[in-house]
């Protein structure tokens, strides 16, 4: 159906719509970063190079997308990084020490992850405490469990030997294998990442649940007032993040066939940074899954690009800090624009 456009929309409509897209800053950033490294390094812009930097982007991207959903819903999860380690450890320990087939061990790890996510969510929803604090608590507890259990079982700080477990080849092919394309080997994880991004985008933009996520993050009280099940929405978001941590934990465990007890430690902030670069507001209610994925791509490009360009990898964190600052400034402008109240 066609409705005559309002005359006040003329000219400004398209620009305005583009400007208030949360991904805009990340897209511009990604183009600039790509152009920069591509001009320094031949390898970086080759197909093999692309496959190379999409690899770190993929596992980070899966987490960044889940964290973006959670942040749009107005919450944080600091335990997500360590949970990738916990799930990996559970899978490897069950498969190598207790003789479980890998799919069964993975299901057990998934159940444990979902339980952690559920508890995170339940505590946040019931007590109204900031999720920053609640998940900081789970983060520390999981970190302790990861180290304590690993040491008690193996006497070292890692468990390995997954290669010999039942069902390894199939599981590896599905989650940690490679696909040849244009003469380069691309990780299967890239497909999982694209799938997760597409699914998250669909949920956010095209389902009732997506509407509720934006609403509980934007103004929880107002959302409740019109009948949005705010508590359930938030708990589901924490469980989604935990599910993503399980997926990434499994991918990494299958790829390396062993898991360090401190796996995932420190990654929780990287997820948040990628989501923020992708346009998520720290205050909730705004952001996008595609943006978070592009944020992850920027990370992957910088991570590998600095090496390809022959620089000291220490510059990576400087680069990250600069990107984060720029992204936050850009987001602030967007928010002001969108929230500006005219009288």
């Amino acid at each position: 159906m066609t409705v005559a456009a309002d005359e006040r929309l003329a000219g400004t409509g398209l620009v305005r719509r583009l400007l208030i897209r949360p991904e805009l800053g990340a897209v511009v950033g990604a183009v600039v970063v790509f152009a920069f490294f591509a001009s320094r390094s031949e390898t970086f812009r080759s197909v093999a190079g692309v496959a190379n930097w999409l690899d770190p982007a993929s596992t980070l991207g899966i987490m960044a997308v889940a964290i973006a959903l959670l942040m749009i819903g107005g919450e944080f999860d600091l335990s997500a990084g360590v949970l990738t380690g916990t799930t990996g450890l559970i899978t490897v320990i069950l498969a190598t020490r207790y003789g479980f087939a890998i799919p069964v061990a993975m299901l057990a790890a998934l159940a444990a992850a979902l339980l952690v996510g559920f508890l995170n969510g339940l505590i946040v929803v019931r007590t109204g405490l900031p999720s920053f604090i609640v998940t900081l608590g789970t983060f520390l507890m999981l970190q302790g469990i990861n180290l304590g259990v690993t040491k008690a079982l193996t006497g070292t700080v890692q468990v390995g030997g997954l290669r010999r477990a039942e069902g390894y080849e199939q599981a590896r092919a599905a989650l940690a294998g490679t696909v040849s394309l244009g003469g380069a080997d691309f990780r299967v994880a890239i497909l999982w990442w694209l799938g997760v991004t597409a699914l998250a985008t669909w949920v956010l933009m095209r389902t009732r649940a997506g509407n509720w996520i934006f609403a509980v993050g934007g103004d929880e009280r107002a959302a409740r007032a019109v009948g949005v099940p705010a508590g359930r929405t938030k708990i589901a978001l924490f469980m989604t993040t935990a599910g993503a941590a399980w997926l990434v934990g499994s991918i990494l465990a299958l790829r390396f066939t062993s898991v360090q007890a401190n796996a995932g430690l420190g990654q929780e902030f990287v997820y948040i940074i990628a989501a923020v670069i992708g346009g998520c507001l720290l205050t909730g209610g705004y952001g996008s899954a595609v943006g978070a994925s592009i944020g992850a791509v920027i990370f992957g490009m910088a991570d590998k690009g600095i090496v390809f360009a022959g620089w000291d990898a220490d510059w990576f964190t400087f680069f990250l800090g600069a990107m984060l600052l720029l992204a936050t400034l850009a987001n602030r402008l967007v928010r002001r624009y969108a929230e500006e109240v005219r009288h």
Binding site: M1, V3, D6, R8, L9, G13, R17, I20, W202, R206, T207, R208, G210, N211, F214, A215, G218, D219, R221, A222, A223, A225, V226, G227, V228, G285, Y286, R335, Y337, A338, E339, E340, V341, R342, H343
Partner: protein, 297 residues
């Protein structure tokens, strides 16, 4: 909002008959004719601990009429509408909906009976678009199972039509609510209540934060909702906003009713001076007056 009719009739007549009139009203009698008011309070009172917030207030709301509740700060206006919208039960007196005593467990019950309240802060999410806000909590969907999804096209179309039929001129239903003006936001909130089947619209000071023009816009939508046959309760402390749209005026002062006037019974001037407590206003004019020449040597 959901299954309005079934819910409405299911909830009727659960209350004990507190007044002799309760027996006379038959379920479903409301809505036909203008004899039975949509809402009626009889000698309603409310106390909070030692504070008497409301005392012996009687008023009624008819379909297609605007009842204005006027009063100064602390007069008990918000307390009255909290009773009407099901937030508080009255401590004394009776509250009748469609002629039968109402027993609401909460605002949701009142909403299911078609009594919608638009609060000053509106319950809208600034960063979300107009159409998403409009349908928040009651989103239209299509498909089923895991493929159940928002019917965005239908939602946008409905919002556009609904706003247009209320005469509300919004540029773009995709723009964030935060970019609307205060008056536009009030109008969208009113249109939303009307769309979701409200029979009674309770508006708590919708014009108080607005400039003259914007207030005029909101008053026009109030009139439009009235013309659609809704009963409107319009709370304000500005008689100049109340007079143009009101059919009856309930004046509150320090928790008590100072009388209810039909539109024919008062003029704007009388309303203004009644509200300010006539004598007090003259006193004030006197105090602030500049009419006397300054006494200078």
């Amino acid at each position: 909002m959901t299954g309005t009719d079934e819910a409405a009739h299911g909830a009727v007549d659960k209350a004990p008959a507190g007044t002799e009139e309760a027996g006379k009203a038959s379920p479903g009698a409301g809505g036909t004719g203008s004899a039975v008011p949509l809402l009626e309070t009889r000698g309603c009172g409310k106390t909070f601990g030692g504070v008497i917030a409301l005392r012996d207030v009687s008023t009624r709301v008819h379909a297609g009429e605007v009842t204005c509740v006027l009063g100064d700060n602390g007069a008990g206006k918000s307390t009255l509408i909290k009773i009407l919208s099901g937030v508080h039960p009255p401590d004394s007196g009776a509250y009748l909906v469609d002629g039968a005593p109402a027993a609401f467990a909460g605002p949701r019950d009142a909403l299911d009976r078609g009594i919608a309240t638009v609060y000053q802060d509106l319950a809208m999410i600034p960063l979300m678009s107009v159409w998403r806000n409009f349908f928040l909590g009651s989103e239209p969907t299509r498909g089923r199972g895991p493929l159940r999804r928002l019917d965005a096209a239908r939602a946008r179309r409905t919002v556009r039509e609904e706003l247009r039929s209320m005469g509300i001129d919004i540029r773009d239903v995709d723009q964030p609510v935060g970019t609307l003006s205060g008056g536009e936001r009030q109008s969208v909130a009113i249109a939303r209540a009307v769309h979701f089947g409200a029979r009674v619209l309770i508006l708590d000071e919708p014009t108080s934060a607005l400039g003259v023009k914007q207030a005029g816009v909101v008053l026009r939508y109030i009139a439009r909702a009235r013309d659609r046959g809704l009963g409107v309760v319009f709370i304000t402390h500005n008689p100049h906003h109340a007079y143009p749209v009101g059919d009856r005026f309930l004046l509150l002062n320090r928790g008590a009713s100072m009388g209810e006037y039909g539109r024919a019974d008062v003029t704007r001037q009388e309303l203004t001076s009644l509200m300010a407590g006539g004598a007090e206003l003259e006193q004030l004019t006197h105090e602030l007056g500049r009419d006397e020449p300054p006494v200078t040597p």
